[in-house]
Amino acid sequence: MSLLFVIPGPLRELAANHGEVRIDATAHSVSEALSLLWADCPAIRDRMVTELGELRPHINIFVDGESIRYSGGFGTPVRDGAEIFILPALSGG
C-alpha cells in the first residue's frame, strides 16, 4: 500500500531534490494524502495552500489523471497505489 506523489520542479528543493515521493501508507482522500506528504516534506505545504487551507489558485492536483477540481476537491477519494501529480497551472504574463 503506497501513494506516489509527482513533485514539480520548483518544489523539488523542498522534497530532498526528489521528483517523486513515495509514501507507504493509505489515505482515503486527497486531504489525507496531502497530510502524509506534508508530514514528510513540511515546506511544501505553505507553497500549495494558503493560511485558510485553500489550494492556491494556480496549482492543479491530478489523481490518477483527473483534476481534483472536477472530482471533489480535497475530498476526492484516493485508491491504494494512486499517482498524485502536483502541477503549476498554465498561467503567467
Binding site: L11, E13, P42, D46, R47, E51, L52, R56, I59, G92
Partner: protein
C-alpha cells in the same frame, strides 16, 4: 531558467535593489555612480515589490519578498549580496488562523532603528503590519492595527488593499506611521498597540465627504530623518506637506503639471527638498504630454522645478509606481527611479541630470538605494 549574474559590492558602494514583476535585479556602482554593474535576475518569474538592505549591527543582509503566482509569497534573505538566499521551510509572513485571512502580497519591508538591530517591519496585502523582533527569524501580526474598528471599512485601491508605507519616527521609538491604499495614514504612539487615523487636510475626491477622518488613497509618504516634523505626501489627487509630523497636511501642488502620481522621495539631509514624478490623471496614469519629468522642490513645496536633462521629452508615456523611486545618502544625492516599461534612470547630482542605467528590464515596481557599509577586515586576519 535565465542565467543569474552576481555583483560583489565593496565598502562605500551604492547598491540599488530593483524589484520587477519578473524578479529582483541588483545594481552596484562606486561613489562616483558613473558605471553600474548588474546582478540577477533573482527569483525569475516572481514579482518582487518588497526589498531592503539591512546594514545594522555589522550585517550586510538583503531582504526580498518574492511573490510567485503559483507558490505564494514569503520573505527571503541573503548575507552575500544575492549569491545565496534562504528558502524558509514555512512561510514566514502568514496570518494566524484567528485572523481569517490569507497573504496576497508582501509590499514593504523596513529594518528597525539602529538602536534596535533585530527589529523589522513588514507591510502586506490584505492591509496588515507584521513585526519581527529576532532579526527576521519569526514574524507576528500587529494585532492592534488588524483589530482596528475602522479596518472593515477600508477599501482596496487599484493595487489592492495594501499597507505600502512604514515610517519609523527618528525622534521617538514608539511612534510609527503607516499608509494604506485606501485607508490613509495611521499612527501609533505606543509601538503598535493602538492606532489612530492621521489624515487631516488630505482630500478624498472619490468620496462624497472630501475630507473624511480616514479612507484617503495615500500613494506614498516620506519623512525627513533630520527634521521629523517635515513630511511630504503624494495622494491619489493631491500633493501635501506636513510641518507637524503628519498631524495636519497642507496642499503644495502649485507648479506641477498634475497633482496625481505615485512615487516620492525626500532628501536625506535637507527637509525642504523632495522629488516626485507627476502622472496625468487617475484614468491615464502616464507622464503628462509624453514628457518624462522629475519635479524637485528645494523650498518645501513653494516651488517645483522640472528636472529633464537626460530624460526623454517626446513620446515618453511612462508610469512610475509608488515604490519605484529612491535616493542614496551621498553628497550630492543620487536619485533613482524605474518605470513600468522597464527603464531604470539615475542621477548622481540631486536630479539635475539623468542617465539611463538600463532600458529593457521587466516592469519595475520598486527601487531601493543604499550605501554599503561592510565591516572592515582586521589586519592579519
Amino acid at each position: 531558467m535565465p542565467t543569474t549574474h552576481h555583483v560583489t559590492p565593496r565598502n562605500g558602494d551604492v547598491l540599488l535593489l530593483v524589484g520587477t514583476t519578473k524578479g529582483l535585479f541588483i545594481f552596484r556602482a562606486n561613489k562616483g555612480r558613473g558605471k553600474w554593474e548588474m546582478g540577477g535576475p533573482y527569483f525569475p518569474g516572481s514579482a518582487v515589490y518588497a526589498m531592503a538592505y539591512d546594514g545594522r549591527a555589522g550585517r550586510h543582509r538583503l531582504w526580498a519578498g518574492p511573490q510567485s503566482m503559483h507558490w505564494g509569497g514569503l520573505l527571503r534573505w541573503s548575507d552575500d549580496f544575492g549569491h545565496n538566499w534562504t528558502n524558509p521551510q514555512e512561510a514566514n509572513v502568514k496570518f494566524p488562523e484567528r485572523a481569517g485571512a490569507a497573504l496576497k502580497q508582501i509590499w514593504q519591508i523596513v529594518p528597525g532603528r539602529d538602536a534596535e538591530p533585530d527589529l523589522l517591519y513588514c507591510g502586506v496585502e490584505p492591509a496588515a503590519l507584521f513585526v519581527s523582533r529576532d532579526a527576521g527569524q519569526t514574524w507576528s501580526l500587529s494585532e492592534g492595527l488588524w483589530n482596528h474598528p475602522q479596518r472593515s471599512r477600508w477599501e482596496p485601491g487599484g493595487g489592492g488593499l495594501c499597507l505600502h508605507t512604514i515610517l519609523l519616527d527618528p525622534a521617538r521609538a514608539n511612534r510609527i506611521r503607516i499608509a494604506v491604499s485606501t485607508a490613509g495614514m495611521y499612527v501609533t504612539e505606543d509601538g503598535g498597540g493602538t492606532w489612530r487615523p492621521s489624515n487631516k487636510g488630505i482630500r478624498a475626491d472619490f468620496l462624497p465627504e472630501k475630507y473624511p477622518e480616514f479612507g484617503q488613497c495615500v500613494h506614498k509618504v516620506a519623512q525627513s530623518q533630520h527634521q521629523p516634523e517635515r513630511m511630504f505626501l503624494q495622494n491619489h489627487w493631491g500633493l501635501y506637506r506636513s510641518d507637524d509630523r503628519g498631524e495636519s497636511w497642507i496642499d503644495i501642488a502649485d507648479g506641477v503639471p498634475s497633482d496625481f502620481g505615485f512615487a516620492m522621495a525626500i532628501h536625506p539631509e535637507d527637509p525642504d527638498c523632495a522629488w516626485i514624478v507627476p502622472l496625468e490623471s487617475d484614468q491615464f496614469r502616464c507622464t503628462p504630454e509624453g514628457k518624462l519629468r522629475v519635479y524637485r522642490t528645494r523650498n518645501a513645496g513653494k516651488r517645483w522645478d522640472a528636472m529633464t536633462k537626460g530624460l526623454p521629452q517626446k513620446d515618453a508615456y511612462e508610469t512610475v509606481l509608488r515604490d519605484a523611486m529612491a535616493v542614496d545618502s551621498l553628497d550630492p544625492v543620487g536619485v533613482y527611479f524605474g518605470t513600468r516599461s522597464g527603464k531604470l534612470f539615475g542621477s548622481a547630482d540631486d536630479g539635475k541630470s539623468w542617465s539611463t542605467l538600463l532600458d529593457g528590464l521587466p516592469p519595475i515596481v520598486a527601487v531601493k538605494a543604499s550605501v554599503v557599509s561592510l565591516p572592515r577586515a582586521r589586519k592579519g586576519a
